[in-house]
């Protein structure tokens, strides 16, 4: 293997976006968590000082990754995946309970969240499996089931931990599967089910079934000459109705009360400004009050006076919205969109399928984080506690995204050494 300067072939645009997001996040944490007793942004006892250290460590990790041969990840994909699954099981047994979920290991002063590493492990395994010779998810049901197993094993384990938010992230890997020719109608169907679920929760199920019945009737009337279509329509109606009932059941019996509350608030079924919707409401007030150009760095009143909870972690976007206004929101969303599009661009220039799948996996994970995290701050997504990539305070999250991204950059840097698959 050629020994070359590992930085030479790096996609510097991605690195630049990465650094801009990390620094923006760090400054925002400083503004949100600023304490007059500790005015220095490098003050280690404060979250902003710690975040600086996490960024520095992340850069060391990133550099380290660039020095490691990318073939290693390919070779050990399953092993890494296996280890991360093992850690997820282990954390269930000996993990520490934080805010209702058992998702942390505590090693002295350091807390590690294995679900962050499972994202990376699952992405590697997914890439490895789909890129294996003879695997064809477009045609083989067995292969598709294996893909689902790779994705939903960690999901199930993380749900068992009680961390629904992180579990949800894994569904984003289906974007990579879609790119690799997973039958579109199946994904469309899954999406339709999701939509019906939401409607089922929103309206009375008998109204829903009535509407479905009416739709089916019209459908049958227009396609009355096509026996097979009628057959499908009737089947579809029965399935949809049964589904609507089961959603209702699941909602009332499977979800935890606080989750039900949040879903209800999100769907607008419940108004309670000092209850579950309080956070979302205060978050919207914070962002909305920022106006076009914001209240200025360190001048946010909503965030500074703790009206918004978790403002340096899950609700960090509030501080951006309040202090930097629409301009700041546009800047941050622009950076994320640029990052996603750049990753797609990188994905598409790969010669080997493994790298492409991995790239789409990374894009999917970042995408779903942004969608849920920023979506919840403006009331467009349920309040699910997942961090804003590269910006939210926290080492595990920072390291996790760094590893995800820089392995991609390393694979990309080495792309010319691979044969097209």
């Amino acid at each position: 293997m050629r020994r070359s300067n590992p930085f030479k072939e790096i996609d510097w645009i991605t690195v630049l976006i990465y650094l801009m997001l990390a620094v923006t996040g760090w400054l925002t944490i400083y503004s949100a968590a600023y304490s007059e007793d500790y005015p220095s942004i490098f003050e280690y006892s404060q979250s902003y000082g710690k975040q600086f250290i996490w960024i520095v460590i992340s850069l060391l990790i990133a550099t380290g990754i660039l020095f490691i041969d990318s073939k290693l990840y390919i070779t050990f994909s399953y092993l890494i995946y296996g280890i991360s699954i093992g850690l997820l099981i282990l954390v269930l047994l000996i993990g520490k309970k934080v805010a209702g979920s058992t998702s942390w290991f505590e090693l002295g002063p350091i807390r590690i969240q294995p679900s962050e590493f499972a994202k990376f492990g699952a992405t590697l395994a997914l890439a490895k499996f789909i890129s294996t010779f003879n695997v064809n998810i477009a045609k083989s049901l067995k292969d598709r089931l294996i893909v689902l197993a790779i994705i939903f094993t960690p999901t199930a384990l993380i749900i068992l931990q009680g961390d629904t938010g992180s579990a949800l992230v894994f569904t984003a890997l289906m974007i990579a599967a879609y790119r690799e020719a997973w039958p579109a109608y199946q994904l469309a169907l899954a999406l339709a089910i999701a939509i019906i679920s939401v409607i089922a929760l929103l309206v009375d199920k008998f109204i829903l079934i009535g509407s479905l019945f009416a739709l089916t009737a019209i459908f049958i009337y227009y396609l009355r000459k096509n026996k097979q279509a009628i057959y499908f329509a009737v089947i579809g109606f029965i399935v949809a109705s049964a589904f609507a009932f089961s959603i209702d059941y699941a909602f009332n019996n499977v979800l935890k009360p606080y989750q039900r509350e949040r879903v209800n608030v999100l769907l607008g079924k419940k108004v309670d400004p000092y209850g579950a919707a309080y956070n979302v409401n205060q978050s919207k007030i914070a962002i909305g009050s920022g106006g076009f150009s914001g209240k200025g760095f360190m001048n946010g009143t909503q965030t500074k006076f703790n009206f918004v909870p978790e403002q340096s972690t899950d609700f960090i976007f509030c501080t951006i919205g309040e202090e930097q206004g629409f301009i700041g929101s546009l800047f941050v969303l622009g950076l994320f969109t640029a990052l996603l599009l750049r990753i797609v661009f990188i994905a598409e220039r790969q010669r080997q399928q493994y790298s492409r799948i991995y790239a789409y996996g990374v894009a999917g994970i970042i995408f779903i984080h942004i969608t849920i995290n920023i979506g919840m701050t403006i009331g467009l997504a349920p309040v699910i506690g997942i961090p804003c990539p590269l910006m939210s305070y926290g080492g595990s999250s920072m390291f996790g995204f760094t590893i995800l991204l820089f392995i991609l950059l390393k694979l990309d840097a080495d792309r010319k050494e691979f044969l097209a698959s």
Partner: protein, 613 residues
């Protein structure tokens, strides 16, 4: 099946679509909709009324009489209070009964769920400090700084008065100048000088965090803070130490002491007894204390020096003597023989003075009833007046000039007029022309229909001291930055009696103390001129009265002392007056008189049995 490019395009589409949706939503809430700005402001901005500090009150020597101490109101916004509020813990921290907090919360809820109202009033600085530490646990609560009045020397409660929160009627009457929660002076100087003492409310906008803790002043062009303007300080005419001493002398006695500086009309002491510690009508337990004071049968809130009316009794004989001399019905040397009582048309007026020859001086000195009955008879039957009625009118003008039967105009509320009967009154009772000197003969010795307040008696003595004039007695000497309001007190009220006549009576009054009925009040170093009185009283034992001024030349103090139901004027009132004079003029009590002071201090005259001679 779509091509790879197709799928790639769809993925890119999704990656772009979501941020675009988000940005449109952000544009809507950040740029188009302005409600969120208001909501954010409502969240953090608290409009706070900054109460001005009420003016301080000093005594004539610059000694502090009234100051302000910080107290704290606990405010609550019911809508922000957590549903599982631990009342028990809150009650412990605030040291307030749980029931009171519950009741307050209900009341606050009825007023408004979103506007703050007062939950607990005027907790101490110590309790406040404790609560402040726990404040983060109690969302919806905050603390408002107020002040309570404090009195370093526990004296003068009735003259100073007290303050309280304005009621709805007062707010309406003030044309909304006052707002709920404002303080207003209710009685005494606090009431009379309210407009100077109160100052002007300020306003500020504070930023608060989610727990309601203050985070500094909000700076914005929209909301203008107003700095409160403190009330004016007032200097009283009172000598607070003399006042305190007077109250001590009067302990366990009912009655009044009024001491006036004759040349200026400045009131040096205005003792109303029994009194109360002014501090108890200020602060948290005011309500309970007020109730107790109202229910007290000794009515400590009754400001006796200006509200109680008594017959002046023998003290009035000094005025009678003056009128007789001025009218020319007697001279200094006219002699009248007393049989030891006064007899006229089937009427006998008894007398403590022995039978014998009396001139006006001796009559005053020995307080002869017979002599003054004779004198009134002579005044009313003068040839120069066409009738007893017109002679009476003339007699009454002298009384009017002394300020009897009318409000003198002291600068605290609730002063009463006293009573000087009029010809109309007698015409109505007896019929026109049907009343003669014997009908109203008891007026001559200060009994009958005559009623005076202790203030009027003291003022009479001030007029004697000045040999013919007085200035309206008043309690305020100086108001910070404002002088004109007090000009009314510089006016001289003259009495149409020549000073040489005053000198004759004053010489007699000196003899009263030197060799007459009030020898007990005699001081070695200071010449006191006075007159005792033992006032008959239909409700019980006689009141002990003494009125005087001192020193004889260049008088510094005029005093009236009334001890209710205490018997002879010489027994209690005269010594008390002499101690006030001694204290005021020499600032000490001579050792020789210590036994007497102890006797006065230890006397309990509250429950003297009904006894009549």
């Amino acid at each position: 099946m779509e091509s790879s490019q197709g799928r790639q395009a769809i993925i890119i589409g999704i990656f772009v679509l979501i941020p675009v949706i988000f940005l449109s939503k952000l544009f809507s809430i950040q740029v188009i909709n302005s409600d969120y700005k208001k909501l954010a402001k409502n969240n953090v901005i608290r409009e706070v009324t900054v109460y001005p500090s009420r003016g301080l009150i000093y005594d004539r020597n610059g000694k502090l009489m009234v100051y302000n101490e910080a107290a704290y109101d606990i405010m609550v916004t019911p809508g922000k209070v957590s549903k599982d509020l631990d009342l028990e813990a809150l009650s412990n921290i605030l040291e307030v009964e749980k029931e009171e907090i519950e009741k307050g919360l209900q009341k606050a809820k009825r007023y408004s769920r979103y506007k703050p109202s007062v939950l607990i009033k005027q907790i101490s600085a110590r309790t406040y400090a404790n609560f402040q530490e726990h404040l983060h646990k109690y969302s919806g609560f905050y603390v408002r700084k107020r002040t309570v009045r404090r009195y370093p020397i526990e004296a003068g409660s009735n003259l100073l008065g007290y303050i309280g929160e304005v009621n709805d009627r007062q707010i309406k009457a003030s044309n909304k100048y006052y707002q709920p929660g404002d303080y207003i002076g209710i009685t005494g100087i606090e009431n009379e000088y309210e407009t100077f003492l109160r100052g002007k409310r300020g306003k500020k906008y504070l930023m608060v965090d989610v727990h309601g803790r203050e985070q500094g002043v909000f700076e914005d062009d929209g909301e203008e803070s107003k700095i409160p303007i403190g009330g004016k300080n007032i200097t009283s005419t009172i000598d607070i130490l003399l006042q305190e001493y007077g109250e001590t002398l009067m302990q366990n006695k009912k009655g009044s002491i009024v001491a006036i500086e004759p040349s200026t009309g400045e009131i040096l002491a205005l003792v109303s007894s029994p009194s109360y510690d002014p501090n108890i009508l200020s602060g948290r337990d005011k309500g309970d204390h007020y109730k107790a004071l109202i229910q007290d049968t000794l009515i400590p809130l009754y400001n006796r020096p200006i509200m109680a009316q008594y017959s002046p009794g023998s003290v009035f004989k000094t005025v009678m003597g003056l009128i007789g001399l001025e009218e020319g019905v007697i001279t200094q040397n006219s002699i009248y023989y007393s049989k030891g009582a006064y007899y006229t048309s089937g009427l006998r007026v008894g007398d403590h003075a022995p039978a014998g020859n009396y001139n006006v001086s001796r009559a005053i000195q020995l307080s002869s009833n017979a002599y003054f009955c004779y004198l009134l008879d002579k005044i009313l039957n003068q040839k120069k007046y066409e009738s007893v009625e017109s002679a009476f009118e003339k007699w009454k003008t002298y009384l009017d000039q002394f300020g009897m039967g009318q409000k003198l105009g002291i600068d605290i509320p609730n002063e009463v007029k006293g009573l000087t009967p009029t010809t109309e009154y007698y015409n109505k009772v007896y019929g026109k022309g049907a009343w003669k000197a014997p009908t109203i003969i008891s007026l001559s010795i200060g009994q009958g229909e005559l009623l005076t307040t202790p203030l009027q008696i003291a003022n009479m003595m001030a007029a004697f001291a000045n040999r013919g004039y007085f200035k309206t007695p008043h309690l305020v000497k100086n108001i910070e930055d404002n002088d004109s309001i007090l000009s009314q007190f510089r006016q001289t009220h003259s009495i149409d009696i020549q000073s040489k006549n005053f000198d004759i009576v004053i010489d007699a009054m000196e003899e009263v103390v030197e060799r007459g009925t009030a020898r007990i009040a005699r001081l070695d170093s200071i010449k006191i001129c006075g007159k005792t009185g033992t006032v008959e009283n239909p409700h019980g034992a006689d009141h002990s009265v003494f009125a005087c001024f001192a020193p004889k030349e260049n008088p510094q103090i005029a005093i009236a002392v009334i001890v209710e139901n205490a018997g002879y004027g010489a027994t209690w009132a005269a010594p008390i007056a002499s101690f006030m004079i001694e204290k005021y003029l020499t600032n000490k009590i001579t050792r020789r008189r210590k036994w007497l002071e102890d006797r006065v201090l230890n006397a309990n005259l509250l429950n003297v049995a009904y006894e009549k001679e």
